[in-house]
């Protein structure tokens, strides 16, 4: 059974990689299998975790004082499905509005604190190891990069003279940042490929110890 699984995984991997040559039937089949299995996996997971554990066990637990609130969540879930029924499809906007509102409320203060206040504070304050040559360079780069980056995004004044030069420096900092992101993305994608090659040459073909 394990051998069958390895062969199946190997053929599916080759099927997906075959897209790099050109779009083909094998790729389409593998893609459909992947999408179908993913959908099935998520459905089963959410069924047992949400509908069974949270909802069914919650509403049938007579000691749970908040069990009636679960019916509201259930009703919102059913309303989401009305999207599939043309005439009453507008009902699905209510649970969507609830999700958007709840998410915005959940994130708003957290983002203000963590991504604004703490980040600005950490940028302004001197680092604990300030004093060494490395820390001078590091702090100088952060100060210069932050300032020039902000100047680049200030469009109320024409980018000319000293202001324009600073904005240009800001672009350089941004480009270096994008370059670092690109490098990391390449590493990430290569890791995915390596994972599959490791499987093909190792578990499937047995060429790696």
């Amino acid at each position: 059974m394990e051998t069958f699984g390895i062969w199946l995984a190997a053929l599916l991997t080759i099927g997906i990689i075959s897209f790099l040559y050109k779009d083909n039937v094998l790729y389409k089949a593998c893609e459909s299998i992947f999408v179908g299995i993913s959908a099935g996996y998520w459905f089963i997971t959410y069924y047992w975790d949400n509908l069974y554990r949270k909802f069914y066990l919650g509403v049938t637990d007579m000691d749970n004082p908040h069990r009636f609130f679960l019916w509201i969540a259930f009703a919102l879930g059913v309303m989401m499905l009305t999207r599939l029924i043309g005439k009453i499809g507008w009902l699905s906007r209510w649970p969507l509005a609830f999700i958007v509102g709840a998410t915005a409320g959940l994130y708003m203060m957290t983002y203000f604190v963590s991504n604004a206040f703490v980040q600005v504070g950490a940028t302004i304050k001197l680092p604990p190891d300030f004093g060494s040559v490395g820390s001078y360079i590091s702090f100088g780069m952060i100060a210069l990069g932050t300032f020039s980056g902000l100047v680049y995004f200030f469009f109320s004044k024409e980018h000319k003279g000293v202001f324009g030069g600073t904005a240009k420096l800001g672009i350089w900092f941004l480009m270096v940042t994008f370059g670092a992101s690109f490098g990391y993305t390449v590493m990430s994608r290569m890791s995915l490929m390596l994972g599959r090659l490791d499987f093909l040459f190792g578990e499937w073909l047995g060429m790696i110890n």
Binding site: Y184, M187, S191, M193
Partner: protein
């Protein structure tokens, strides 16, 4: 074998690159499939010949290692497996290295996930690392698996005040009240360190925003490379250190082997992947250089 592999790989890579450069300088277009094939073969030869390079730990990775080292034995460390099989090659080695390090130091580990796909991977770590390499580790006293809970950041928002409201039981249905590891743990604020591993949303960033900052809990994320640049701004105040992609994982494995020689023979998949990674990066950088040379040459010809 490795040396022969390096020589064969280098000959192939530089010979092929030279041929492609000459071809493109003649003004001929290169089919993108040739580039794909070239990258594939250069990486495949590195994988087959097991090309490896020595890793030197960077400060940002060493800080995570030092933090786990400096915690007194018995400290409470939570590891969250917030990833899927697609991310497995680059972040799973981090998870296993963290588990090994924590258990060898005598820390208590709490395993959980806010990704449904993380559950099976978490159990793989339990079966292949904890049970095989640390047979004396006792479930409930040295480690516990909480499993998956749906809700994303909602889960984090609850466990920062009370674990039991979100996890009345562990993964196996045992009440948290009867698990010794939870005797002194009410919420995530009672943890000494959190190691979220992942690269999507919700993931390490949400752990910083919803657990690290409000609960003043030290966070040291292990990240898929694609999100690492987005988390760097949180270092060092909001994240005490971080592991970025397979490179970070390889550095951590290298540190672990240096400090604990008993791990010399355990698998180090990230270290093994760095050879092919390096080859792939050399090839991609070479293609960028070739592309630019060809572009400027053709532009100069156009001007003439």
């Amino acid at each position: 074998m490795t040396n022969i592999g390096v020589i064969i790989s280098m000959v192939f890579i530089f010979g092929g690159l030279l041929a492609i450069m000459i071809y493109s300088l003649r003004g001929k277009d290169i089919d993108r499939r040739i580039i794909f094939l070239f990258v594939f073969i250069s990486v495949a030869t590195s994988v087959i010949f097991n090309v490896e390079f020595k890793e030197y730990p960077t400060v940002i990775v060493k800080k995570v290692f030092d933090k786990i080292e400096s915690l007194p034995p018995g400290s409470k460390v939570l590891i969250s497996f917030d990833f899927d099989p697609a991310m497995k090659p680059e972040v799973f080695p981090m998870a296993n290295a963290f588990v090994r390090h924590c258990l060898v130091k005598g820390h208590k580990i709490y395993l959980m996930t806010i990704w449904a796909t993380g559950q099976a991977l978490m159990n793989e770590t339990v079966e292949t690392v904890i049970k095989e390499e640390f047979p004396d580790a006792v479930y409930g006293e040295d480690y516990v698996t909480l499993g998956f809970k749906a809700g994303g950041v909602g889960v984090l928002n609850v466990i920062i005040t009370d674990f039991r409201k979100m996890y009345p039981t562990d993964e196996h249905g045992t009440s948290l009240d009867s698990i010794p590891l939870f005797a002194e743990v009410k919420s995530a604020k009672d943890l000494d360190l959190v190691l979220p591993i992942g690269g999507g949303q919700p993931g390490p960033k949400e752990w910083i925003l919803f657990i690290g900052d409000p609960g003043d809990v030290p966070i040291a994320p292990g990240l898929a490379a694609v999100v690492a640049p987005l988390i760097y701004p949180y270092y060092p105040k909001q994240a005490i250190g971080l592991l970025g992609g397979v490179k970070g994982a390889a550095e951590y494995e290298s540190l672990l082997r240096q400090v604990y020689p008993q791990f010399q023979d355990v698998p180090a998949p990230a270290l093994r992947m760095m050879g092919p990674q390096t080859m792939a990066h050399i090839v991609i950088m070479a293609f960028i250089v070739i592309g630019n040379i060809t572009y400027f040459r053709s532009r100069r010809r156009g001007a003439e």
